[in-house]
């Protein structure tokens, strides 16, 4: 029988023990003695969230295709198990072999959102690995992180040995080969890290020195300590999506994952250029897979997993060039086999409504719009090319087709937002409700229509045109939500409207981390030591502990979140080259302030800088 790291009495008292036993169908079993490199791939959140993540699935498959490497999975133990592991000194283990990850060569973690930073420390702490990079010794694992937050890794610089900036498919082979060479040659941690820093996309925080201006505390200089360490790290991107490594045998978790379905990545990057959206900038250029490759991958994945549902993954599926052909294929080939097709958020038009009516029960499902802002002025500021006519027209078509539920997503706290812009949110919802009552005759209505408004608070992110924008204090966000709520109650169709908004404390913290620098590290460490982890989970988020940790370390939220940054300020992430140039971002910031709309990449090239990669949409446009 497979061995387990946790004893029976623990497994019987914790929630969902199947999170910790491994043994999932399609999981990879190797003999650790047969490999040179043991890699613990970790998603620093609970199993059900981590198992849903496509990036880990891709890297797990890719690394395990190497004969010299055994990649295993690790997720954050839920607090119930966390406490028991601490109490009984049980070291954190990998799911496949159940071996302690302290003995592995690498611990890799993906940073999908800022609020997982304390969970990085939890993983290291439970593993028994020193929390600070500088305290690790030759036989400790190399701690490497990647993912979207690696585009500003500075707030966690002290905790990690390496940062992989960009898409994992490209530079891992070089990194692993280098590691093998050093391991065979009497491993010296410092010299390995020094050499690794020369691999494209690999950033070694310890090899850089930052100085700050005495006047205002902003960065004075940011440079490598040694001449042979690159001053700029170029984000790595896959050039050809069709030939890029993609797993056909996805793992089947026992505990239901958030994504309990085949997820088919149809493209990377987005042509739209919404100014608030980090993904829309850092994943440039937009690179599509060919429809033939997607059809083959869909079939293979369904056969290898037995999933009864397939969904498409991308930032903007409606922009995929052959969406009609792909949907026809999925509907004809999959529906008949008992496989449901779950739709990504599509632009609502005649095409998408036709597709939706084939795969969903119209009476039960809803249509979704993400206008992100209520007024046309504000939508121009954020470069969201969606007009009132698009929305009302799409909703009217949907109402004719039998739908009566609409979900609307907005952001509050966008740069230059006024009370009029906020009030435009419920007004737009009211107009949609009015369109329902105009479109659908009384005798055909099944009760009222339901328009649900959700707002989140805007957080400025690095490498977006809004990276210089100020945030607001928590109380101001709530005031803005109240403006929306009060205005909603003044609407004629208010009984058809519903409004949800988010908490604001966590927004402020997310804002601090998103644009933070390495001076935040001691505060994050103190927060973890005072009991903060699973901060992304409302029931475990404790803002007061964070405030205490900030105060103790002289961290000013004002400095990181609320101030307007100058366009010529050295930003903590300026050393990373995401291909989109700082000049383009500045131009876009000015366009935003002037309310000018910038065309999307298929309409014409706006010269963001990613054309130098020579891939995807940049090639088609020229």
């Amino acid at each position: 029988m497979k061995k387990l790291a946790l004893p029976d009495d623990i497994l019987m008292q914790i929630d969902k023990p199947a999170r910790y036993i491994g043994n999932e169908f399609n999981s990879v079993i190797k003999n650790p003695a047969d490999v040179d490199i043991r890699f613990a791939m970790c998603f620093p959140d609970v199993y059900e969230v981590g198992m849903s993540h496509l990036g880990i699935a891709i890297l797990y498959d890719m690394l395990n295709k190497r004969e010299d490497t055994y990649c295993e999975r690790v997720y954050s133990p839920w607090p119930d198990l966390h406490n028991l592991m601490k109490e009984r000194n049980i070291p954190l283990f990998a799911l496949e072999s159940q071996d302690p990850i302290k003995d592995f060569d690498f611990i890799g973690m993906t940073l999908q959102y800022e609020m997982c930073y304390t969970n990085i420390l939890q993983i290291l702490d439970l593993a028994g690995v020193a929390l600070l990079s500088k305290d690790r010794e030759n036989d400790d694992p190399i701690v490497v992180v990647g993912g979207p937050c690696a585009t500003n890794p500075e707030p966690i610089a002290d905790f990690v040995d390496l940062v992989y900036v960009g898409e994992g498919e490209t530079s891992y082979p070089a990194l692993l080969e280098l590691y093998k060479m050093h391991k065979a040659d009497g491993f010296d941690r410092a010299s390995f890290l020094r050499e690794a820093s020369k691999i494209p996309g690999i950033y070694v925080p310890a090899l850089y020195e930052v100085t700050y201006k005495e006047s205002d505390g902003t960065i004075e200089s940011f440079k490598p300590i040694y001449d042979d360490v690159p001053a700029v790290i170029e984000r790595q991107v896959v050039k050809d999506m069709d030939s890029s490594s993609y797993p056909t045998k996805m793992l089947i978790p026992f505990v239901r994952a958030i994504q309990d379905r085949v997820v088919l990545e149809i493209q990377r990057g987005c042509i739209r250029g919404c100014r608030f959206c980090q993904a829309g900038m850092i994943y440039r250029p937009n690179r599509e897979k060919s429809v033939e490759v997607l059809k083959a991958q869909a079939k293979e994945l369904l056969a290898a997993t037995g999933h009864e549902e397939i969904s498409l993954s991308s930032l903007s599926s409606s922009d995929y060039h052959a969406l009609g052909e792909l949907m026809d294929f999925l509907i004809n080939d999959c529906l008949s086999e008992g496989v449901n097709v779950s739709l990504p958020s599509l632009r609502i038009d005649a095409f998408s409504l036709d597709v939706m009516s084939k795969v969903q029960d119209v009476r039960k499902s809803s249509i979704t719009f993400a206008p992100e802002a209520g007024s046309q002025r504000m939508r121009n500021v954020i470069n969201k090319g969606l007009t009132v006519d698009d929305i009302i027209g799409g909703a009217t078509l949907a109402f004719k087709g039998g739908w009566n539920k609409v979900k609307l997503y907005f952001m509050l706290g966008l740069p230059s937002e006024t009370d009029e812009d906020m009030k435009a949110i419920p007004q737009l919802a009211n107009d949609i409700a009015a369109a329902y009552y105009e479109t659908v005759p009384k005798e055909q209505r099944q009760g009222r229509c339901q328009i649900t408004i959700s707002t989140s608070f805007f957080v400025p992110k690095p490498f977006t045109p809004f990276q210089w924008a100020p945030m607001y204090e928590a109380g101001e966000y709530l005031r803005r939500a109240k403006v929306v709520n009060d205005e909603m109650k003044a609407q004629l169709n208010q009984k058809s409207l519903k409004y949800n908004w988010h908490h604001s404390d966590v927004t402020v913290l997310e804002g601090v981390f998103a644009r933070g620098d390495r001076r935040l590290c001691p505060a994050i460490l103190d927060a973890y030591n005072s009991g903060c982890f699973f901060d992304a989970w409302g029931e475990y988020f404790d803002f007061d502990k964070w405030l205490a940790a900030f105060e103790k370390n002289n961290i000013s939220i004002d400095y990181y979140a609320y101030r307007q940054r100058e366009l010529d300020e050295i930003l903590p992430w300026d050393f990373i080259d995401c291909h989109v140039s700082k000049n383009f971002l500045k131009k876009e910031w000015n366009n935003a302030m002037a309310g000018n709309v910038t065309p999307n990449c298929k309409m014409g090239c706006s010269g963001c800088g990613s054309a130098k990669i020579g891939s995807g949409v940049c090639q088609n446009a020229r």
């Binding site: 029988m1 497979k2 387990l4 029976d8 009495d9 497994l11 019987m12 008292q13 023990p17 199947a18 036993i21 043994n23 999932e24 169908f25 089947i252 026992f254 505990v255 239901r256 309990d260 056969a303 290898a304 997993t305 037995g306 999933h307 009864e308 008992g338 449901n340 969903q360 029960d361």
Partner: protein
């Protein structure tokens, strides 16, 4: 065509709950390529039903599920194609075509047999030397075994005696091993831990912890106490 599938759930699979197991089987059947029948409607689902759910922590060699398939597949091929899609701790052991009048496994179950022992060879019960004699007094010679059963609605008094069809004990390497055949199914579902708890109380042992037991289900039966038939003995291989 209805097929009854018997399977084992052992080893570390004991930590996987019933709902998770059902979802595992839906995907495994799909992967196996068996021509399973689907329900109608917008969210078609496989026509598949399970006999009495096994609790987390228990193992079994006698679990059952019934499925509807569209065309005949040989029993050997059915077993092989499913076993290719199992994981360690799950194994298909039979695949039989049910007669038209066979009751669904879910509602057919009337009894289940178990082997129960202690995880810890130093459990209090291991120090009772005349445990076999005491078992006779507790069970064989008793006219009734009244216990208080906690239900969702509160507590009710229950006589276990007519619901225990077999209760044997033998001591192996110093540890008592119980062999039980108990009423099971939708009415009067008696869990083995309930019986052992009553026995512990009779023995005068301190606080009973059901997690101290290692419970293994051997088989499930249908019919009446004098003519129990294993669910796995119904139907034919083809």
């Amino acid at each position: 065509m209805r097929v009854r599938i018997r399977f084992e759930k052992t080893g570390i699979m004991r930590y996987v709950g019933h709902l998770d197991l059902m979802r595992f089987f839906q995907k495994a059947v799909k992967r196996s390529g068996l021509p399973i029948r689907y329900s109608e409607g917008f969210n078609p689902h496989q026509i598949m039903s399970f006999a009495s759910p096994l609790g987390v922590g228990l193992t079994s060699e006698g679990e059952y599920m019934d499925i509807d398939i569209k065309r005949e597949v040989s029993s050997a091929k059915g077993i092989a194609s499913l076993n290719e899609n199992m994981v360690e701790g799950l194994a298909i052991t039979s695949f039989k075509y049910l007669p038209d009048d066979a009751e669904k496994c879910m509602s057919a179950v009337t009894a289940a047999s178990y082997i129960v022992t202690y995880k810890d060879c130093k459990d209090d019960a291991c120090y009772i030397e005349n445990i076999c004699d005491l078992k006779e007094k507790f069970f064989d010679e008793a006219a009734c075994i009244n216990i208080v059963k906690k239900t969702k609605k509160g507590e009710r008094e229950l006589d276990l005696k007519p619901l225990i069809y077999r209760f044997n004990v033998e001591v192996k390497e110093g540890v008592p091993v119980y062999d039980l055949l108990l009423s099971s199914g939708s009415t009067d579902n008696i869990k083995p831990e309930l019986v052992i708890k009553a026995f512990h109380e009779y023995l005068g042992l301190p606080e009973f912890d059901e997690l101290s037991l290692d419970i293994h289900r051997v088989d499930m039966y249908t019919g009446e106490p004098d003519s129990f038939v294993s669910l796995g003995d119904i139907g034919d291989e083809r």
